[in-house]
Subunit: 343 residues, 2 copies
DNA sequence: CTGAAAGCGCTAACAG
DNA sequence: CTGTTAGCGCTTTCAG
């Protein structure tokens, strides 16, 4: 590239305004405004003339000014804990479709599972006066929750139905997902259970929903009289590699486990690869169970036993409800047991 | 949930303004403004008093008004072709870090590989007068390109260095990536080559970068005197499943191939699973080669032969350059051959 | 069908 | 260190 440095400084350069279009077209500003927004009655030829000059001048309306004047933005905030876990890009993808269709733009913020960061990011997003906000989970700092309640816009809390919310809740019960996993393993006759989970990789913040799954799993086992035998929490974000290390560490301590539940499919896949490499028969010697039913775990010759979560749907429904005027509600999209071949 | 329907209508509800904070604190608006933005000299006690009332009133500054008044927004537009291909969430993740650090928010738009949609989305993003814009690829409609050139903000085009750009380019040569793959396979002694690629799944729009890789691959083979023998383009977005079907179809037609290049790792993984299921020895009977070096392909016992692309880095560098004031430039981050075990 | 006046909530540019 | 005066570019009344 040998373009000269672009002149553009920190600030947006001067661009043609509605006023100039109006002058050029020989009409008043409001007329141009009406033409652009297709609002109110406009004579066909006036419209044509205006459109013409709009095109000629390469006019791009300024939504910042428009929003300030009309207090109606087309931005929708989306707060996600992470982009490293493919689940959240999928939620985002689910939301992006309906949002675009309805003319909204997602503005995203990533908390890295840190509640304080979430609070700051929510405030920062709210400053843009979005039309609505999608956040992940039901747990927020008190101030964050207060801001959400007072924002005067629709709020959707996604991915978790285990608790109360602010306005709209769309997700599934993570606790139940853990129970489903436990019941499946118990029904299959497994008795010596282990768990491999992930931390956030930072000292602060945790994956609360994984915790709820663990809790459901552990509770079910205990009630069945076969309490969890051992668990290993890898201090890293969830990943295939973390799952591999986690299972290795767990088995080093407790070699006689016959079934291991993982915090999610990525982790479980890592465990699976560990077993392949070590020649541990699956599910003969050891059963593995994940969470999410990611494509990668399902297309292998030996598909992972797991629970399918409606991630795309959650984004989709969340987006639609936030942009609509349905009453406040909790939408539980449920999970499906995928028997697979590893348990 | 049994909250009553939230009153919030379509428009943002009335929220406390800077004016009210000023009145409450007994200072002028500009003083409050200065305190909030930490700009200019403010007496310690004045600051304290203002902060106090800000907190008491739960005041959240209105950035829409702020941006209009100062023409300096903290939004950065990001235009991606897809969220279904994990590569783009990774680019986004790469960008999200630096952006947050620098106080910017990513506003995202997904084109689904449709140039017309890209044009519309770029216009829509530009309407928000973002501080900068990250787009994917170097090819745009003429009007889209004109808008980008006239936007008066920094523009970064990501993921591809094979061509000229508008301002900043950050990526790698897809053509070269194809050449690298071909040279590796040739060096290994393979001679009967096939290719499995993906379409977009829609009639309109294509993955131009995959096309450039194919082109590099094909050219290298031809020049070496071992032209591509057969190819199969699955009419679906890239996925593991599409790769599986693609290879099945290709081998049904051309059973004697000894090496297959895939449009990316997802596709290659599908091919790999097909071979596992069919008992086709890899790389003995058939060599497989992908693109991207996704984690999932690398941690398996038989890691995929592929090329590593610096996706995170691309997002990161793109974001930093767009928000800085470096000269226009092309940054080629290159790719690395990963020998793997499938070729 | 079109226009004039009055802001939306904030900040730049000067004054004091 | 603090305040006053003008807008930013658009849309909302309310009149014609």
């Amino acid at each position: 590239m040998d373009h000269p440095t672009r002149p553009a400084g920190r600030k947006t350069a001067r661009r043609t305004t509605l006023t100039e279009v109006a002058r050029q077209a020989g009409v008043s500003e409001i007329t141009v405004s009406r033409v652009i927004r297709n609002s109110g009655p406009i004579a066909a030829d006036t419209r044509a003339r205006v459109m013409e000059t709009v095109r000629a001048l390469g006019y791009v309306p300024n939504r910042v000014a428009g929003t300030l004047a009309s207090s109606g933005s087309n931005l929708v905030g989306i707060v996600l804990p992470s982009l490293a876990n493919i689940v959240f890009p999928e939620v985002l993808r689910g939301a992006a479709g309906p949002l675009e269709t309805m003319g909204y733009h997602p503005v995203i913020a990533v908390t890295e599972y840190d509640p304080a960061r979430e609070e700051a990011l929510i405030e920062s997003l709210l400053a843009w006066r979005p039309a609505g906000l999608l956040v992940t989970g039901l747990e927020h700092t008190p101030r964050a929750e207060a801001m959400l309640r007072n924002a005067g816009i629709r709020i959707a809390e996604l991915m978790d139905t285990d608790g109360d919310g602010i306005d709209i809740i769309v997700g599934f019960s993570n606790f139940d997902a853990g129970c489903v996993a436990a019941r499946h393993l118990l029904a299959r006759g497994y008795r010596r259970f282990g768990y491999v989970g992930h931390g956030s990789g930072m000292t602060i913040g945790t994956d609360l929903r994984a915790g709820k799954r663990w809790s459901g799993f552990e509770t079910t086992l205990r009630e069945a009289g076969h309490p969890l035998h051992d668990k290993e929490i890898v201090d890293a974000p969830s990943s295939i590699e973390a799952g591999r290390c986690g299972l290795a560490a767990l088995l080093a301590r407790s070699p006689k486990l016959d079934a291991v539940y993982f915090s999610n499919d990525d982790m479980a896949l890592g465990g699976y690869f560990h077993c392949l490499a070590r020649g541990i028969a699956i599910p003969g010697t050891l059963a593995l169970f994940g969470h999410n039913a990611l494509e990668v775990g399902q297309v292998a010759p030996q598909p992972l036993s797991t629970v399918r979560t409606p991630r795309l749907k959650i984004g989709e429904v969340g987006a639609m409800l936030v942009c609509g005027d349905a009453p406040s509600q909790k939408v539980d999209l449920g999970v499906d047991l995928i028997e697979g071949a590893t348990a």
